[in-house]
Symmetry: C2
Subunit: 96 residues, 2 copies
Amino acid sequence: MVDQLSEAEREDALDGLPDWDHDEARDAISRSFTFENFSEAFAFMTRVALLAEAADHHPEWSNVYNRVDILLTTHDAGGLSERDIEMAEAIDALVD
Amino acid sequence: MVDQLSEAEREDALDGLPDWDHDEARDAISRSFTFENFSEAFAFMTRVALLAEAADHHPEWSNVYNRVDILLTTHDAGGLSERDIEMAEAIDALVD
């Protein structure tokens, strides 16, 4: 089990993830990524899939051609946990 | 360019795709797929991505863990075209 972040922990974490939006209703974070084309977008998705499987922590995500939308939350924790923050940082490291 | 299917053509096509739902508002077809786990789901997505890139016809799709939702329509045609029907048949052939 993993704990939901406290409000202070969440604020600290979000300060470190300026490209992610906080969905208050779901206590989730999301980010949209745009690539040159589908091939580039799916290559990115494959890298995220490998991260997700290695961490056993999987995104909710969608793709339309060159766009990938990723949402992270921890169902078991009822909202954001440290696992989401770590995954967001790892995803950011792929593209930034 | 590719033409939107006529009503008669669409009805014929949908008769051949019993696992797909027709979204009348968007003139699109959609199907949900459920797998054992994320690894199986993403393996399927990779095969669909290869089909999509080869056909230069890409789905709108989302994934949450072991579930993959696929929607097909042809933006250039303003709705369903023969390209969607062919893609749906190719996707079905991966799983059925």
